[in-house]
Assembly symmetry: C5
């Protein structure tokens, strides 16, 4: 998984069928600084630190027939120790 901070939101009206209910959030991976768009069903907000799972496991967790989603916010991070 990736540790990432929610930095924005993306809206898409013209899209293919089969996208589940949820939001497309732009996240910035820490500490790498790279960005990707993750699907969110938790109602995550801007600035929130989250865990993102990528690849087919994101699609497999979502309901529906193989939704074409390759990144999913699986949790909000309470705290990290190092």
């Amino acid at each position: 998984m990736l540790k990432a901070k929610v930095v924005g939101k993306v809206w898409s009206t013209k899209k293919i069928s089969g996208i589940p209910t949820g939001a497309f959030l732009e996240v910035e991976v820490e500490p790498a600084g790279t960005r990707l768009i993750a699907f969110d069903v938790l109602g995550s907000g801007i600035g929130e630190l989250v865990l993102v799972a990528t690849g087919s496991v994101a699609s497999a967790w979502l309901e529906g027939v193989a939704p074409p989603i390759d990144a999913l916010i699986i949790g909000s991070i309470d705290e990290s120790s190092q």
Copy 2:
């Protein structure tokens, strides 16, 4: 998913069997600047900002017996907030 801009189109006459109907579009990932070829069924045009899903979820969404497609444009981006 990746946020990317459509920057070109690729034609292939000599290809393997099982490629569905659609277009191969070259996209530039934002903000990384890397490029890949994504399959498009939405009629996306040059300069359009799109969401691209990568990996086996792209193939799983398409009809047919496991088409060898690893990147799919799943939507056109209306707007981003940051």
Copy 3:
């Protein structure tokens, strides 16, 4: 697989359903220095050198209906020869 050192732990209370019992550990990949969060069922500790498998094979090994886990610590490294 990746050779990585455990460098921290992450807690998440608000999370999606289907996450198995275990810990989310932050690991630093050697020698690249990149970081990711791996799921751990072995009780690995800070400073321990581990083997991490990534992608859908992590989810497939875990019990449950397709848990959205994309990185799993599969072993503790005793020794490396080079």
Copy 4:
């Protein structure tokens, strides 16, 4: 998919079972310049510009019981527009 140029060929006599009939070609990804080995069933030649699909979709397209192939040349590029 990746746009890549065929730059070489690789031969392997000692190999695991289940590799289908075809060639292992070294390709250079454009414009990144990275290299990988892709499986080819189209008879692609040195210097040819091709489309490469990576990941499990390559294996899924090939006949046989899950051949351990993670990159497949799916077409020869006629032309690109930008």
Copy 5:
């Protein structure tokens, strides 16, 4: 696939269940210079040039119930032409 040279071996006594019989070899990808740990059933030796398949295709080829292995040496390279 990746072209890589075997540069070391890794031993793991404390590991999860379901790891098949074989060796964990450290390989250095050519020409990128990055390193990963690949599973080997061919008896590959230090200095040997090999082909490595990554991702779920590695697990799918191995016997057992979805072993958590994401990189597999599929062949020894005899010769490359460029």
